[in-house]
Every structure is written in C-alpha cells, then in structure tokens.
C-alpha cells in the first residue's frame, strides 16, 4: 500500500472531514482531518489497512498556530512509512473525540493528553487519571506552555485515584506500589479468588521526572541526548539514538557512515546485555536465582566492553546530534570479537540447557497469553508482538543507522505466551552477535576518525519528525516538533513499555497469582521509560540527603 493509496482511501471514505495532507519528510504522510471525522479515519486505518497504531501525541501550539493539536501516529511496517492524523482542538475548550473505542491501545495516550494538556476526549471508556499524582489539583495542566517547569502546585488529596470495586467474593492482593520483584514503583491491584486472578486494576506513573517538559523548556538540542539517555537505565542508548535521529531527520543532517556503524554496534551490545539481564530477572521472578547469577555473569564482559568503548558501563554518553563522540579504534576490534564470541558460546549453552528444562517450561508455557488480534488491538510491540507471530521490527521496517547494510533475521514465535517471549529474546540475542560482527567488519574498512558532522547552523523551527528505533523491549518511538530557542516545541517519547503495559490486565485475567509477576516481567517492563512525564523540581538543587543515623532511624522504625 502506497501513501497515495492511503490518501485516496481516506479522501474517499472520510469525505468532507478530510482537510489536507503534506509529506514533510520522505517516509511520512501527514493528514489533517476534522475532529468529527477522526473516529472514522482511525477506523479505516485500523481495520481496513495494514496500519499499526503507534501513539497519540498532544501538543500545545497556541503560541504558534493558535490551537491544541492531537496527532495520532500510525505506521505501515511493510511499506516503511508513517502516517500521522493531525486533529485540531479549540484553544479555549479543547475537545477531540476519543478513539479508544476503536483502538484499545489509544487508552493511555488519550488519558495522558487529557491529564497533561487538558484536552478532553468525550466517549473515553475509562476516564480516570493516568499520569498525574494522586494529589495533583484538577485543571492544572503541566505540559501547557504557561506552566513553568519548576512550579510546584499545592496538594489536593481529594483527587485520590478511584480503583475498581472488588468483584464479589474476591480479595485484593496488592502487588505494588513497592513490590520486591518489580524493581520500580508500580501498582497492580489483583482481585483474587483462591489463587485465581479474577480482575486486575493498574495504577502507575509513580516516578515522574518531567523529562519531556525539560526538553521543551530548558534543555538544548545537544543536551537532550544526555537527558534522553536517562529515560531508561537499560535501553538508554536507544532513546539517545532515537532522539538524535529525530533531529537529524528534521534538520536533514547527514551522519557519517562510521558513526552509523558505531551506533549500530552499541545498539546491539545494548540489546545483548539487556536480554541477558532480562533472562536473569525473569529467572529471579520465578525463584530461579541460578539463572540470574549465571546470565549476569555472562553479561558482565559485555558491560566491560561497553565501558571500554564508551567510558561507562551504562549511560554511555556517546551520541550527539550528527554523530558519536568516541571512535572504536581498530586495535580494539579483535578484543570485541573475542568477547562477543565467548558470550555467544555461553549463550548457545544456555539456550541448549533451557530449551528442555521441564520445570522452567511448566512455569512459562501457556501463561500470559496475548494473541495476534490482541496485540493489534493494544498496539503491542517488541518480543510480546513477535511471540504472537507478528513480524515487526523497526530495524527492518524503518531502517536506521547501519541496519540497511547488515543481515539478520526477525525472530518470531507463535506460542503467544511467556515462553514464546523468552525464546524470541534468546534467539534475538544470537542475531545481535551476528550484527555486531558484520558491523565490525564494516568498521575495519572505513577510515578512522570520521565520526561526527558538526551542526553549523540552528535547527530550523516548525519541522516535524518521527523516529522508530528497535529497543530490546520493542519499538521506541520519538516524535519531534522543532521550535525556536534551540529546543523543541514538543518532544514525545513513546517507549516500548507504554503500549505493552496496558495489555497486562488481558494477560493476567484468569491466571494464578503466582503467574502475575512473571507475566508482568515477560513484557520486560520499564516503568521509568513509561513514566518520563510529570514535573519534579529538578533545578532547585534542594535535594534532601539522609545521614546514616537518620537512615537507620527510618529503617528501624
């Protein structure tokens, strides 16, 4: 399906609701529709074409265009382009019809836009608060431009979150906000009958950091990569690359080929250690600590390798707009190769051992089922979707860095369960070894030193870009609307956990309590990625430090 087909289809079906379209950069189609027609347009895209919903972005454009805007982002994976539905909302009483009834996956996006920008979505099936804290005052919208990033509104405890009522005869088993196997704060409220989970309610967004707001209001283009890297501790480089690609796209900056390869190597090293980490954590969740210890032992040389290449184990700080900061010297390549091949050997041994492990399979098989249709409905990504036999991988579908030049397979499984996700991850790691080796080959041929294109002039305002980068957990989508002052007007991060997390209730319902942690674990949730929004007072420097006495007093209480 070409962009032209889409346009004609939309024009024909939507009719007068269709306003116009542009193609800002080659892989994008930008369609503006009237608010009344948005449900129809989304229905056509979602049901009649191969489009996959990505995310909805709200944007406060009252300064520029006297409007609030809502963008519904779609991707055509096999045709390698993005489609954006641009809907205008009134600047005074912003209101856009909800598309959640058409695409379940839009649930969170719309609630988030409502919370942060105050755009209402009439017809939303679950209009509870999503992002804002429990005591955040009503009608204070932190992502609007007039809201200063360091403002701290007073507490309004009456806004407390309303959970669902217990279904009769069920007990609440609270998994969270602080729960041992979830490394971050998240709250799954399980309604349990015996051991069976009858229903589940979710409350998240406990750890808001206001990263997007900072990106919009205080940081500059070349500072944001370092901030983006800190969205997530594990797939930081992905966010980093994603943002850099975004700006490079928008400003049409050509990145040196060597930098592309270096980025590819780092991305794949990150995938390797992330999957190793995940396997360990998954083992730990089901009480198999040996897996944790052993995979993390295997992971360690990779971490050292990363430190050797970039200067840090994690949060490499490698990327700048236009290229990378450090080169991989040719002398280092053999060492990388040995480390990688050692790890590959051990990884094959792990695969060999794990694949027939009955007890492990008993815990992982037929648990947390999410099939193809469910994935499409919730717009699930990454190993979750690939385990449901959906062939999607941003590396193939929207090639970036050097992925157009390396060969690899997209691993899929058709078991729809946690075991499938495990297998996909393990096999994917093997593909990553291949990619690293190919990239190293290419690196040996390219001249050393040519790793960055300096930005000579300002990034022009009003440019639009979408970038999709395949993180270990799935596809990471960044959206950018450039602005003046050397910073974006709107920078939206949709990490892979964001669409995957809302699928948990579907996966968990009817399973046993014991399965819940591993099901949640199976999407490799990254709550910090998801909860990048919200404002905290980062700039006051007023950090409270607990002395040892104070700490022991707290802990002994």
């Amino acid at each position: 399906m070409t962009k032209q087909d889409i346009l004609s289809l939309l024009k024909a079906k939507v009719g007068s609701g269709f306003i116009g379209s542009i193609e800002p950069i080659p892989d994008q189609l930008w369609v503006e529709v009237r608010p009344e027609a948005v449900i129809q347009a989304v229905e056509i895209l979602h049901r009649q074409t191969s489009a996959r919903y990505l995310v909805s972005v709200g944007s406060d454009e009252r300064d520029i265009k006297k409007r609030f805007a809502v963008y519904h982002l779609f991707t055509f994976d096999k045709d390698h382009f993005f489609v954006t539905l641009d809907v205008t909302a009134d600047p005074h009483t912003p209101k856009v019809p909800s598309i959640t009834n058409v695409i379940a996956g839009a649930n969170w996006s719309e609630r988030e836009i409502r919370d942060l920008l105050g755009i209402q979505f009439p017809g939303h099936p679950d209009p509870r608060r999503l992002v804002l804290a429990d005591d955040w005052p009503a009608e204070v919208y932190p992502l609007r431009k007039e809201f200063d990033y360091s403002r701290k509104p007073e507490s309004h405890p009456e806004q407390a979150y309303q959970f669902k009522d217990n279904p009769p005869g069920t007990t609440v088993v609270a998994m969270g906000p602080y729960f041992p196997v979830f490394e971050e704060a998240t709250y799954f409220r399980l309604y349990v009958e015996g051991e069976k989970v009858v229903d589940v309610d979710y409350r998240g967004f406990y750890a808001h950091r206001g990263i997007e707001k900072l990106g919009d209001q205080t940081l500059t283009y070349n500072q944001i990569p370092f901030m983006a890297e800190r969205i997530c501790g594990i797939c930081g480089f992905v966010h980093n690359v994603s943002f850099c690609k975004l700006v490079e796209h928008a400003a049409d900056i050509k990145v040196p080929r060597r930098a592309d390869y270096i980025r590819t190597i780092m991305l794949e090293l990150e995938r390797i250690h992330s999957h190793a980490l995940w396997l360990g954590v998954a083992g730990h969740i089901i009480g198999f600590d040996t897996v944790l210890m052993q995979t993390w032992r295997m992971r360690e040389p990779i971490m050292w390798l990363c430190e050797k290449i970039t200067g840090n184990r994690k949060t490499y700080g490698m990327n700048l707009i236009g290229g990378v900061r450090r080169d991989i010297p040719k002398a280092l390549v053999p060492e990388i190769r040995t480390k990688i091949s050692n790890m590959e050997k051990e990884w094959l041994a792990v695969l060999d051992a794990v694949k027939d492990d009955t007890t492990l399979r008993m815990r992982l098989e037929k648990v947390g089922i999410l099939n193809k249709e469910g994935c499409h409905e919730w717009a699930a990504v990454g190993p979750v979707a690939r385990a449901a036999d959906l062939d999607m991988d941003a590396r193939k579908d929207h090639p970036y860095c050097a992925y157009d030049a390396v060969e690899f397979k997209v691993i899929t499984a058709d078991s729809n369960d946690v075991w499938g996700r495990t297998v996909v991850r393990i096999l994917e790691t093997l593909e990553s070894f291949k990619i690293v080796n190919q990239s190293l080959d290419a690196l040996m041929e390219l001249p050393e030193g040519d790793i960055i294109t300096e930005i000579r002039q300002d990034i022009p305002a009003g440019r639009i870009a979408i970038s999709a980068v395949e993180a270990p957990r799935g596809e990471d989508v960044h959206f950018l609307l450039t602005g003046g002052n050397n910073r974006p007007v709107r920078w939206r991060v949709r990490c892979p956990t964001y669409p995957n997390l809302p699928t948990i209730p579907d996966m968990v319902r009817g399973e046993q309590v014991a399965d819940v942690p591993i099901i949640v674990g199976s999407i490799d949730p990254c709550f910090s990625c998801t909860e990048r929004m919200e404002v905290v007072d980062v700039n006051s420097g007023n950090i409270r430090i607990y002395g040892q006495e104070e700490l022991s007093r707290w802990t002994a209480r």
Partner: protein, 146 residues
C-alpha cells in the same frame, strides 16, 4: 529434564566462583578501563573561566558566580551524570574525568563539591567578569588562583 538440569549445572560449575569480597579484596583486573569517566577534577591553573562547561552541562550542576574580579565555579557533583561533556568542550583541557568511581559518601554536600575561583578582569560597565586579555596578564594573576 534431568539432562537439561545437568547442562545447567555444568554451566554453573564450569566457572566456579567469579565474585570477590569487594570492599575487602579488590579484583585488580576489574579496575576501570582507560577512558573511563569517573569523578571530574578541575585544574584551576588551566581554567580560564570561560564557563563553557556550565553552558553544556546537561544537568546544570556547574554554577558560576561572579564577585567583582573573582569568578567562582561551583561543581555540585552529587548531580553529575558523568557524561564528560564539560571535559570535551573545555578549550584549555582544565577539566578531566578521573578514574575515581567510589564516590559513595555520608556527606554528599561537601565531599562531592568542587569549588574553583578564577581571578578575572571585570567589565567596568556591566560588572561582569571576563577573561583577561593577554597571556602576560594571565601570568600576572596566577598568584590569585587557588
């Protein structure tokens, strides 16, 4: 099943132990590699007070205050992300990233705080500091640096 368990056991036993009783005994192979970005230091003698570092720092931890002819650079390192951008952009290479990584402390405010004072010329009109013009001037003011 038994076979796969044995394989797992084999993976486990092959490596015996790899951990160290860390603070008591150090693994000397596992010290930071060359190029590691640890806690930063500033060589006050090289610093020309251009404040480029403060400009690029993503976490805004470098606070520049001017008091007449003295420019004070405060590095509140408890917020440092070890990106090393300051060291990159420093024209005089006054900032370097050391290999020091054991920075846990009970007194973050004092232990993770570097303060550098640079004597600079003062603009008579706006009262702000600026770098003294010539190398001679810099040599003359060396005594004021601490």
């Amino acid at each position: 099943m038994i076979i796969s368990k044995l394989k797992e056991a084999l993976i486990c036993f092959k490596n015996l132990r790899v951990t160290f009783p860390y603070p008591l005994k150090r693994n000397f192979e596992a010290l930071p590699v060359e190029g590691f970005r640890g806690k930063l230091t500033i060589d006050v003698n090289k610093c020309i007070g251009c404040a480029g570092c403060a400009n690029v720092c993503p976490s805004r931890l470098i606070v520049v205050t001017d008091r007449q002819a003295v420019r004070k650079l405060d590095f509140y390192l408890e917020r440092c992300t070890y990106c090393g951008r300051c060291a990159d952009v420093c024209p005089e290479k006054a900032i370097t990233m050391t290999q020091e990584f054991e920075t846990a402390t009970n007194d973050v405010h004092n232990d993770m705080h570097i303060s550098a004072e640079v004597y600079m010329g003062t603009c008579q009109r706006c009262g702000r500091c600026f770098e003294t013009q010539t190398i001679i001037d810099r040599m003359m003011t060396v005594g004021f640096r601490n």
